[in-house]
C-alpha cells in the first residue's frame, strides 16, 4: 500500500481562521503556511484524505498545487 501525499491549497471563508486550522489538521492536513490576508492555507495531505478536507466546515475549495516553470532562454 503506497501512501501518496499531495501539496494542496485550501481557501476558507472569511473569518474562519484560525479556528478552521484544527479541523484541517484533524482531517489530515500537514499545514505548511497560513496566509491570513488571503484566507488560504497551504500544506500536504494524503491523497485519500482530500475529500475529508473538502468537507471541513469553512472550507471553500481544495486544489492541488500547480508547478510553474519558466521557459529556457
Amino acid at each position: 500500500m503506497t501512501t501518496s501525499v499531495d501539496q494542496v491549497m485550501v481557501s476558507v471563508t472569511e473569518g474562519s481562521l484560525p479556528k478552521v486550522l484544527d479541523d484541517l489538521r484533524e482531517a489530515g492536513l500537514v499545514v505548511d503556511t497560513v496566509l491570513e490576508a488571503l484566507g488560504v492555507v497551504t500544506g500536504t495531505v494524503e491523497v485519500r484524505s482530500i475529500p475529508a478536507l473538502q468537507s471541513v466546515p469553512g472550507v471553500i475549495d481544495v486544489e492541488r498545487q500547480w508547478r510553474v516553470q519558466l521557459p529556457p532562454y
Partner: protein, 385 residues
C-alpha cells in the same frame, strides 16, 4: 486560425499522473476506461504506463474524454489529460521574428515609448509594486539608493536572482529612466519595489510559494502585483477557484494582480489558451506585441470562454536589467509584456489614487485600441496616464 481541429490526434490519450501515486492513478483510469489494473498483464493496446515519467497512454472511447478530464480536474492522482498528438517536423516557424529596427532606443526602450511612459509626468512615487519572480540582483548598480523590500519563498535560496528573469521584470516595471548607460528602461521609476522570490534560480516554483508571495504583498499594502509566471493548460481547462478567490480578496484590499498570458502559441498555426493563473477572471491577463504593434507569434490568446486576454504590452526585444555579470539583456515573452502593464498600472494608481477594481477599469479603459482581434490583445496596448 484558432480551430483546434487543425491538430491531428491518434485517438489515444496522454495522462499525466502524480509522480508518487502512479498505482492510484492507473486504478482511477481503469475505473473510467473499463480495464482492471490488477489483472496482471495489461494489454499494451489498452494502456501503457511509464512510471519514470509518471505518464500513461490510454486507449479510450472519445466519449470518455469528459470523464478523464473530470478526473484530472479533481484533486487526486490524475493530473492532466491530453489527446495524443501526431507530431510533424516543425518546418516553417519563426520567420521574421527579428523586429524591423525602426525604433530609436537611444534614450528610452521602444516599450517605454509604446506605452507613452516618455510623455507621462507620473513616476510611481508613493506606490508599492511587488514583482513575484526569481528574485532580484541585489548588486545591480542601476538600483543603488532605491527602496527595495525583498523576501524569498524558495526553501534554501535567498532573494538573490541567480536566474535573471526577475531582475529583468523588476527593471521594466520599476527600473530607472536614466541609468549610467542608455537606454532607460523602467516605467514606474520612483515606485517602492517589493521583490518576492517565488521561482527558484532554475526558474521553477509552485502555487504554495506564489500564494505566499501574494499574501506578503497584500499584507504590505502593495497596489500592483506583477507575475510573469504561469503554467500552460489545455483549452477548456477550468480556472483555479482558489486563485480566483485570492484575486478577489486581494482586489478588495486594494491589490491588483497582473499576470502573463503565456507563450504557448505558434502563430499563425496555433493559438494556445491563456495559462494558469492568468486565466482567472479577476487576474489581468497580458498578451505580448512587437515593435510593429503586431501580436507576438508566441503570445497565448483567448480560445474559449475561460481565460480571456485583457490587455497587451511590449513583449518582443525588450531591453532591461539582468543579473550580473551580464547586467542587461534583451528578452521576449508575455513575461516582458506583464511588467509593462504592471508599471503602467502603478503610474495610474499614483496619478488617480485608484486601487483594486477601479484601477483595473482605468488600466483597461485607457488602453490604446489596436487593429487586432480582441481575442489576441483584449482592450489594446496599455498607456501611461
Amino acid at each position: 486560425m484558432t480551430d483546434p481541429v487543425e491538430e491531428e490526434f491518434t485517438g489515444r490519450f496522454l495522462v499525466l499522473l502524480q509522480e508518487d501515486a502512479i498505482d492510484e492513478g492507473v486504478a482511477e483510469l481503469g475505473a473510467i476506461a473499463g480495464f482492471d489494473p490488477n489483472s496482471g498483464d495489461l494489454d499494451p493496446d489498452t494502456v501503457q504506463v511509464f512510471p519514470e515519467l509518471g505518464v500513461a497512454v490510454v486507449s479510450a472511447d472519445p466519449n470518455l474524454l469528459t470523464e478523464l478530464n473530470g478526473a484530472a480536474e479533481r484533486p487526486g492522482p490524475v493530473q492532466i489529460v491530453e489527446p495524443e498528438r501526431v507530431v510533424h517536423l516543425f518546418d516553417a516557424a519563426r520567420e521574421e521574428e527579428e523586429p524591423s529596427a525602426e525604433a530609436d532606443e537611444s534614450v528610452l526602450t521602444w516599450g517605454l515609448q509604446a506605452v507613452g511612459a516618455d510623455i507621462s509626468t507620473a513616476t510611481g512615487k508613493g506606490v508599492k509594486i511587488a514583482v513575484l519572480d526569481t528574485g532580484f540582483e541585489k548588486n545591480h548598480p542601476d538600483f543603488a539608493g532605491r527602496t527595495i523590500t525583498t523576501k524569498s519563498f524558495i526553501t534554501g535560496e535567498d532573494v538573490q536572482d541567480g536566474h535573471g528573469h526577475g531582475t529583468h521584470c523588476i527593471g521594466t516595471s520599476a527600473g530607472p529612466r536614466k541609468p549610467a548607460t542608455a537606454p532607460g528602461y523602467g516605467i514606474a521609476y520612483e515606485a517602492e519595489i517589493f521583490a518576492g522570490k517565488v521561482l527558484s534560480n532554475a526558474g521553477s516554483g509552485s502555487d504554495g510559494g506564489i500564494l505566499a508571495g501574494i499574501d506578503w504583498a497584500v499584507s504590505n499594502g502593495v497596489a500592483v502585483i506583477s507575475m510573469s509566471l504561469g503554467a500552460d493548460v489545455s483549452p477548456g481547462t477550468p480556472y483555479s477557484q482558489i486563485y480566483e478567490t485570492v484575486a478577489q480578496r486581494a482586489m478588495a484590499k486594494g491589490t491588483l494582480i497582473v499576470a502573463a498570458a503565456g507563450n504557448a502559441s505558434s502563430r499563425p498555426a496555433k493559438v494556445a489558451p491563456v495559462g494558469h493563473p492568468a486565466r482567472c477572471p479577476s487576474i489581468i491577463a497580458v498578451a505580448a506585441i512587437d515593435v510593429n504593434r503586431a501580436i507576438a507569434f508566441f503570445s497565448s490568446g483567448t480560445v474559449d470562454k475561460i481565460g480571456q486576454i485583457d490587455v497587451a504590452g511590449p513583449g518582443v526585444d525588450v531591453y532591461s536589467s539582468f543579473k550580473l555579470p551580464e547586467k542587461y539583456a534583451r528578452l521576449r515573452g508575455t513575461s516582458m509584456a506583464t511588467p509593462h502593464a504592471a508599471g503602467v498600472a502603478v503610474l495610474i494608481a499614483e496619478k488617480t489614487g485608484a486601487r483594486g477594481f477601479e484601477l483595473w477599469a482605468r488600466l483597461a479603459l485607457t488602453a490604446l485600441r489596436l487593429p487586432l482581434p480582441s481575442t489576441d490583445v483584449g482592450g489594446g496596448l496599455v498607456q501611461a496616464p
